[in-house]
């Protein structure tokens, strides 16, 4: 059992243990993980789905200089049965559709709002029935068939298996989704942490990220 604690964005749940299964992982919304680290949570590595949170920690001297290690894009998912008969993202304007998104401040929530703004689809936000605190909860509510549609990362679709169908979104509207990691300061195992970071950035780590559907910087 490694002594290393890795705090990582929920969207990394399926890929990080494949790169190194030794650390103790805590997956969640990047904003909540950053908050916990600010409160002194024992994280040896922090991998965020948005530069915002690692950069904030770095600016406060709470972690090392962040490194970009992956990129991602957004897709729209609907339950396999597609109860609302959605054929494109523009159907989300229809009244009565149950749309689930990330909450504002959570990376997937902020990216979703950027995307909808660029598509001139802010009106779809009036169909939101729940603001979730991390992307996996959005996936779960769509995969269960309780929600009609949700915005998630491309890399979330494969783990959801046959329960969801994905729709591509216009490239011009895609927000820049960058994953950055850093090593929180004043921890006991900086060498182990640095080794984990190297593993993620290594050829093998990049291959694993690519296989999971992430883009590489």
């Amino acid at each position: 059992m490694s002594l290393l604690a890795v705090f990582a964005a929920a969207s990394l749940t399926a890929v990080f243990p494949g790169i190194d299964r030794a650390p103790r992982f805590q997956f969640g919304g990047s904003d909540q993980l950053a908050f916990q680290i600010r409160q002194g949570a024992p994280a040896d590595v922090f991998a965020s789905a948005s530069p915002k949170y690692v950069q904030q920690l770095h600016a406060r001297g709470l972690c090392s200089k962040p490194k970009v290690f992956a990129t991602n894009t957004l897709v729209l998912i609907v339950p396999r049965a597609n109860p609302a008969h959605i054929r494109s993202v523009y159907d989300l304007r229809r009244r009565g559709i149950k749309l689930v998104v990330g909450a504002p401040g959570v990376p997937i929530g902020d990216y979703t709002r950027t995307l909808l703004t660029r598509l001139h689809l802010r009106s779809a936000l009036s169909n939101v029935v729940s603001d979730e605190t991390d992307v996996k909860l959005v996936v779960a509510k769509v995969a269960l068939g309780e929600a009609d549609a949700g915005f998630v990362y491309r890399t979330d679709v494969k783990p959801a298996g046959k329960r969801v169908i994905q729709f591509e979104l216009p490239v011009r509207a895609q927000p820049t989704v960058k994953y950055e990691l850093c090593v929180p300061t004043k921890r006991k195992h900086p060498q182990l942490a640095a080794r984990f970071v190297r593993e993620v950035l290594s050829k093998r780590g990049r291959a694993a990220l690519k296989a999971a559907g992430f883009g590489l910087p």
């Binding site: 689930v100 909450a103 029935v129 729940s130």
Partner: protein, 259 residues
């Protein structure tokens, strides 16, 4: 020995009081009051009060006859029914959440479209809070002096009249205590609500859900909502104490006939 016990008791009380006190000491009272004006906090208060009121109405309307039956009749399966009533007390809220989804979800047993609506919040709150009311109500009805009920019957009162004119007034303060407990538990409902009803400001985001949504974004707003819930809970518990003392002490309504 007495001194040792006193020290231990003081430690235990300090441990229980500290987190509650910390909520009020972390920021100034002025900040707490100001942050309660935040739209997230205000909307959550409205959602919480509305859903709690409806849930408690449901609990009282369905729970009172149930409790009366359980208190006054002996039938096969009674202890099973009592256990069922108490089950949500010990059930983890997350289990209540998936249970409600499995029962009322769109792909659930009854396949309703309740998920993500305010009705879903009402159901979640009623599910976890009802046992507090029903249990207390059963005890209150059982505490009604049987001699008075018998006297009423002998004098020709029909069962409905016995319930409405004898049992209900005599059990009233017990029922009130149960309702206050149920209300307090319902206000704090979190796990079942976030799973079954989701979290959306102005619609399904209750006070506890707002704390969860805000703690990483705006800790002061989360603290202010926390302080509000402490105040609510404290007031409700005081009400329970007051109603209970009224109910347990020799009642002013029911001088015992036999005693």
């Amino acid at each position: 020995m007495r001194a040792a016990f006193a020290v231990i008791a003081a430690l235990a009380l300090a441990f229980l009081a500290l987190p509650v006190v910390a909520i009020f000491l972390r920021v100034s009272p002025a900040t707490l009051v100001r942050e309660l004006g935040d739209p997230v906090a205000r909307d959550a208060l409205v959602v919480s009060l509305r859903t709690s009121a409806l849930a408690q109405l449901l609990v009282v309307v369905l729970g009172t006859p149930t409790a009366y039956l359980l208190a006054t009749r002996r039938f096969r399966g009674r202890s099973m029914a009592l256990t069922l009533v108490e089950l949500p007390l010990v059930l983890p809220p997350a289990v209540a959440g998936i249970g409600l989804l499995a029962a009322f979800g769109r792909s659930g047993l009854l396949s309703t479209s309740l998920a993500f609506t305010q009705s879903a919040v009402v159901l979640a709150v009623a599910f976890v809070a009802a046992p507090f009311y029903v249990r207390t109500a059963v005890a209150a009805f059982e505490g009604v002096d049987a001699a008075l009920v018998d006297a009423a019957r002998t004098l020709g009162a029909r069962p409905w009249r016995v319930f409405a004119r004898i049992a209900l007034p005599l059990a009233a303060s017990g029922l009130g205590a149960g309702l206050a407990l149920s209300f307090a538990r319902g206000l704090g409902e979190f796990g079942a609500t976030i799973m079954f009803a989701g979290s959306l400001q102005r619609v399904t985001q209750t006070l506890p859900l707002a704390i969860y949504a805000e703690f990483a974004q705006s800790f002061d707003v989360a603290l202010a909502i926390g302080a509000l819930l402490v105040a609510f809970s404290f007031t409700l518990l005081l009400a329970v104490k007051w109603l209970r003392s009224d109910w347990i002490s020799p009642s002013r309504f029911a001088p015992s006939v036999s005693g």
